[in-house]
């Protein structure tokens, strides 16, 4: 299981596709506890990402991820722009100069993405944000960094993200726009946690597909 820059671009295309498919769904989630723009903002950002990646060939995985991050920052706006933007930029820094990525790099990328989001947003688990989906997945991957069945590890991580998304339904929002709702935010699934899960799902599926049977 390893991927070159072309493979990385394919993974990012899958992520972008997933966001675009879920544009309405994410916006609907945001309309319940936010301002009904999460799907719109994110798909606008990933359209720009695709355009950017297709307009130039970059032969360094780190630069690709940094480009994604900078594009998101300058096109998404709102809360998710700086958060996901910082996530990708931090991830890119961590794999700077690499022309291919292996499973360990994948774990590093997500780990650094999480750090970036925490640095930028100052939220923690249980605040009903992106972190509730991302951190459980990263924790599992950290533990399984040296495992043999990478696919199983990724599935486990994805499942943990999914549970994290479910968990957001039961808690009060403490960060972001939904926090103004207080108690009334309970019962609603967090849009950012959901988009994070969807992105992970698309990436992991693509990685598994590309790596054929086994890694």
């Amino acid at each position: 299981m390893a991927t070159d820059t072309a493979g990385l671009v394919k993974i990012l295309e899958a992520v972008a596709g997933k966001i675009s498919e879920n544009r309405e769904f994410l916006t609907e989630l945001d309309s319940a506890i936010g301002d009904a723009d999460h799907g719109i903002n994110m798909s606008k950002g990933f359209s720009a990402v695709l355009e950017k990646l297709h307009s130039q060939k970059i032969d360094d995985c780190g630069t690709i991820l940094k480009t994604v991050g900078m594009t998101l920052v300058s096109t998404v706006g709102g809360a998710s722009g700086p958060l996901y933007g910082t996530a990708f930029m931090k991830a890119g820094q961590a794999v700077a100069g690499k022309s291919s990525l292996d499973f360990e790099d994948f774990v590093t990328i997500l780990d650094q993405a999480l750090e970036g989001i925490k640095y930028r947003g100052k939220a923690q688990r249980g605040d009903k944000t992106i972190i509730d989906a991302l951190e459980p997945a990263v924790e599992i991957l950290r533990k399984e960094k040296d495992c043999t069945d990478k696919k199983a590890a990724m599935d486990k991580a994805l499942n943990a993200a999914k549970e994290g998304v479910e968990y957001t339904r039961s808690i009060i929002a403490k960060k972001g726009r939904a926090s103004y709702l207080g108690e009334r935010s309970i019962g609603h699934q967090d849009p950012g946690a959901t988009s994070c899960y969807l992105m992970l799902q698309a990436a992991i599926e693509k990685i598994k597909e590309m790596s054929g049977k086994g890694c």
Binding site: A36, V73, T75, G81, P82, S179, Y180
Partner: protein
């Protein structure tokens, strides 16, 4: 959706162009960016003031760009924080060597985007400071959460920090007085109708013909209470009781008052509200130093209003009284 627009995608650009066309003596637009700066920016030696946020709150913020107030207003998409690159351009355009103060309304998105812009500016060697305005007493305050929203009280920060910068204050001094305003300004609003984001085409919330929402945000965020429509006096009493109990007040204190129409509220109704505000303050022995009535921080065509009180000391009074000359705020 009934709007005087051409295309929901172009409202911000067309608005900014229309504004520059109207006030070429006051402002210009940075080519390629949704940023309005003073026509004479940068002003050498003066601290630059940059504010901004989502569009739809006009005249905030670009309308307050001019002598004695802001140096730049950055306009995001409607109700969406501008991105850091836009803010960064604004900072570069207005830095006159004395540094730049970012005046941010407390929304997660705004705070993060301005913060990133500040980091970018610092990497280029521009001194940047920031303040975050959180005057909306409708939202419970807590350091563990996002905290209170920034609403119309932000305009007092623009005015007073702007006067301090105009008078030659250092970045540190301008920031300090901005924080003093933030510590002393409290607001709360109510709405009779929602508003429609052009790109969405439908209202952000719905209210029955006999209902109103108290404590909602300027982007249509839900409020603290939905009730049957009350009389203006009752509404004012409710808002004032929240505002006046959030800071210690005693007879003899002086305040500035702002009655801020949210977009569709007739001026007549704003004056009627002020009548009651004034009576309440008189009863409490609080002196009104100055009153501002009109549209300062709107929510597109929302019907409703917010009340802001700024508790004043001598320094704040002097700076509030200083002249200002901008498209939307003029004072001799």
């Amino acid at each position: 959706m009934k709007k005087l627009i051409n295309n929901p995608e172009h409202v911000v650009e067309e608005m900014l162009e229309g504004m520059v066309a109207a006030f070429p003596g006051y402002v210009r637009k940075l080519e390629g960016f949704n940023v309005i700066v003073r026509a004479d920016a940068p002003i050498k030696g003066k601290v630059g003031l940059v504010s901004g946020g989502g569009s739809g709150h006009e005249p905030s913020h670009a309308g307050f760009v001019g002598k004695g107030m802001l140096d730049a207003g950055v306009a995001g998409a409607v109700f969406t924080s501008p991105t850091p690159d836009q803010i960064f351009e604004a900072v570069k355009a207005v830095d006159g060597g004395a540094g730049v103060l970012l005046i941010i309304k407390n929304y997660t998105g705004d705070v993060m985007n301005f913060e990133m812009a500040g980091e970018m500016a610092e990497m280029e060697g521009i001194k940047v400071a920031k303040v975050v305005v959180n005057d909306d007493v409708a939202v419970e305050n807590s350091t563990y959460t996002t905290g209170r929203r920034g609403i119309a009280g932000t305009v007092f920060v623009h005015k007073i920090a702007g006067a301090k910068a105009q008078a030659g204050g250092t970045l540190e001094e301008v920031k300090t007085v901005a924080e003093k305003v933030i510590a002393n300004v409290r607001s709360m609003g109510m709405a009779l109708t929602p508003c429609v984001v052009p790109a969405a085409g439908k209202p952000t919330f719905t209210l029955a013909e006999d209902e109103m929402e108290i404590g909602m945000g300027i982007h249509g965020e839900p409020g603290t209470m939905r009730t049957k429509i009350m009389k203006a006096d009752e509404i004012v009493e409710h808002l004032m009781s929240k505002i006046l109990t959030d800071l210690p007040y005693k007879p003899g204190d002086e305040v500035a008052v702002m009655i801020n129409g949210l977009g569709a509220t007739p001026i007549m109704e704003q004056f009627i509200m002020n009548n009651k505000v004034n009576k309440i303050l008189k009863e409490k022995g609080i002196k009104v130093h100055r009153t501002y009535i009109g549209e300062y921080m709107t929510s597109l065509e929302m019907a409703g209003a917010s009340i802001t009180l700024l508790k004043l000391d001598e320094e704040l009074k002097n700076l509030l009284d200083a002249p200002a000359d901008t498209p939307a705020f003029r004072q001799f």
